[in-house]
């Protein structure tokens, strides 16, 4: 394979690209100038030619999505950037914001030009405090340098809700509401933020835009695994691997190579048990399935997904039932409660998985678990229900022996030696998903030092 091009994170190892002067020194904001000299349609044509696809997980072609945004509606047009990175296993957007914030801003301004928007909102995950500060400093620098022109860029901080990474929930949250997804259609391109045309893209997608213009759409489309998986991805390697971290690589690299050559193999020389590509919302792969290339078509052929570029490596010490229980707890906690199959189904999954893990489940309950997954899959407004049902169903089908052993032996075969043994789910705060079903209504409690301060 040819030397891998680094595009999105280019130059960040050598220079401090959080500074405007440094970013300009590597050609920063020149593509913005170029784009502003092009017509919006010409910019969109380049994006379509590049076949740059959404890096948030949905993999929708960005150029086509931008072309859906109607012009001259008499309403403002918005660009919303999804920086609400929350998919377990994903930590790439954080790296982009921390290391190449100006590339993200340049991408925002180019995309805003392409859809003729003067209003950009970057919805940044609430927990990302350092990232927010770096991005804010970069934005201030760009504004002072007059790069924004007549475009306003607003950084909006989230407040801790996984579901707000879903595009319509993000819009609801931006509008100051509970982050519950809307039903589609109408799609955001037609009726998004404040019922106006809105383009929503992930941080990595937007940060790739300047590079698409620099290389030209046709050249960009030759990188990676054309025609469908063009360009590079920032792969987030984590779990039981020797060298975890973010690695920007061309799409189509083999999973085995990423884990063994780049990641240094399974940590401690242990045996590989499973890999989760895409993120915790996606199906698992067994150790014997890692000879697959990381592009949408190759993964699709074996029922897996590229998702947000995640690769979670799991060694032999992990009990897959416990993994399922922890994953299901996450989705139960994060279900917004709007659609019944997801709200109730995720809780059923947790309850059954807990019984299986404790060795108290009957044979029929394994099938019941699959049945529950089936009743959630594809039956909700947003993909969160699918994101719970798909992985759980894959754990049961691919590691059926292990689930069966729990039922037969009446206990976890790995017992306390499992690497996930006893892992606690967070104390539940969502009224809609509390473990005991009670509403969390605020009431005057004993005063603590912090409460009195400033009152």
């Amino acid at each position: 394979m040819a030397e891998a091009p680094v595009l999105v994170l280019a130059g960040a190892d050598e220079r401090d690209l959080t500074k405007l002067a440094e970013y300009r020194a590597v050609g920063g904001y020149r593509m913005l100038e170029k784009a502003r000299g092009m017509t919006p349609q010409e910019v969109i044509d380049e994006l379509i030619a590049s076949n740059l696809r959404g890096r948030g997980g949905a993999f929708f072609p960005m150029g086509r999505k931008a072309s859906f945004v109607p012009r001259d509606t008499g309403r403002p047009t918005y660009l919303a950037v999804n920086a609400d990175e929350s998919e377990p296993g994903t930590f790439k957007d954080r790296e982009i914001m921390l290391r190449v914030p100006h590339r993200l801003l340049e991408g925002c301004l180019i995309a805003a030009h392409a859809i003729q928007s003067r209003n950009v909102f970057i919805y940044i995950r609430g927990e990302y405090l350092a990232e927010f500060e770096v991005l804010r400093a970069a934005l201030d620098e760009a504004r002072e340098a007059g790069l924004l022109g007549d475009v306003s860029v607003v950084l909006h901080r989230g407040a801790g809700a996984y579901i707000c990474g879903e595009e319509t929930a993000l819009l609801e949250s931006l509008e100051g509401k509970r982050g519950q997804p809307r039903s589609k259609p109408p799609f955001p391109a037609v009726q998004g933020l404040y019922a106006s045309p809105t383009l929503i893209n992930n941080v990595e997608t937007i940060a790739t835009v300047p590079k698409v213009l620099e290389l030209g759409g046709d050249e960009y489309a030759k990188i990676g695994a054309p025609p469908n998986s063009t360009g590079t991805r920032i792969f987030c390697l984590s779990g039981n691997v020797e060298r975890p971290g973010n690695y920007e690589l061309p799409m189509g690299i083999s999973l085995r190579r990423l884990i063994h050559d780049i990641g240094g193999g399974v940590a401690g020389g242990r045996k590989l048990k499973a890999v989760i590509p895409g993120g915790s919302s996606f199906p698992i792969l067994r150790a014997d399935e890692i000879d697959v290339n990381l592009d949408a078509d190759s993964l699709g052929a074996i029922g897996a997904f590229l998702g947000s570029g995640v690769v979670i490596v799991i060694d032999e010490r992990c009990c897959i039932v416990e993994l399922g229980l922890r994953v299901a707890q996450f989705y139960m906690h994060e279900s917004c409660g709007k659609c019944t199959p997801c709200r109730e189904g995720t809780r059923w999954m947790v309850q059954i998985l807990r019984k299986v893990e404790e060795g108290a489940a009957s044979q029929g309950e394994l099938d019941l678990l699959l049945d529950v997954c089936d009743r959630v899959l594809g039956k909700c407004l947003c993909p969160l229900g699918d994101a719970a049902a798909m992985p759980i169903a894959s754990y049961v089908t691919k590691f059926r022996d292990e689930f069966q052993a729990h039922v037969d032996q009446g206990r976890c075969p790995l017992g306390e030696s499992s690497s996930l043994d006893g892992l606690l789910a967070p104390a539940d705060q969502h009224a809609s998903a509390t473990a005991h079903g009670h509403l969390s209504i605020p009431r005057p409690s004993r005063p603590v030092a912090g409460a009195a301060r400033g009152a």
Binding site: E85, E127, P244, R326, A455
Partner: protein, 142 residues
């Protein structure tokens, strides 16, 4: 949401009184503000300590020993997850993925990430918090 955040920054948590204040400012009802606030994990509807320690317990950190780190915090602070120390200084929470999966275990102390935290690092973090608390006490006393 920015208004709720501001109120929380001022009062430490969103008390019913704080929600009434936000509602009055925005021309909304307190119930509506509560419905929004209750949706988000980072908006506190109950008092929390001066300092917040949040340990990621999702799968990536979990595979690399988050449970032991959490136990170490419980031991050092003398509280269980979700509780605040008796002096009201520190609240310990277990949280979902913080997005630092390459450097487990991720612990956020007052929103600042500490990466690759191991059980051995916990006493020093708790010590730092205690020292900060002492400084604050002395600061407010003098």
């Amino acid at each position: 949401m920015p208004a709720l955040r501001l109120a929380q920054e001022r009062y430490g948590w969103l008390s019913p009184e704080a929600l009434v204040e936000v509602a009055d400012c925005l021309g909304l009802t307190p119930a509506y503000c509560l419905s929004v606030a209750s949706f988000y994990d980072m908006l506190h509807l109950e008092p929390v300590g001066d300092h917040l320690v949040e340990v990621c317990t999702n799968i990536c950190c979990g595979l690399r020993g988050a449970e032991a780190v959490l136990e170490a915090f419980q031991r050092e602070l003398g509280i269980t997850v979700g509780e605040t120390t008796n002096d009201g200084r520190v609240t310990l929470r277990a949280v979902e993925c913080l997005g630092g999966c390459g450097w487990p275990t991720v612990v956020a102390v007052d929103g600042r990430y500490r990466l690759s935290v191991s059980v051995e690092d916990v006493p020093a973090i708790v010590h730092c918090l205690a020292a900060a608390a002492r400084r604050e006490r002395e600061g407010s006393g003098g």
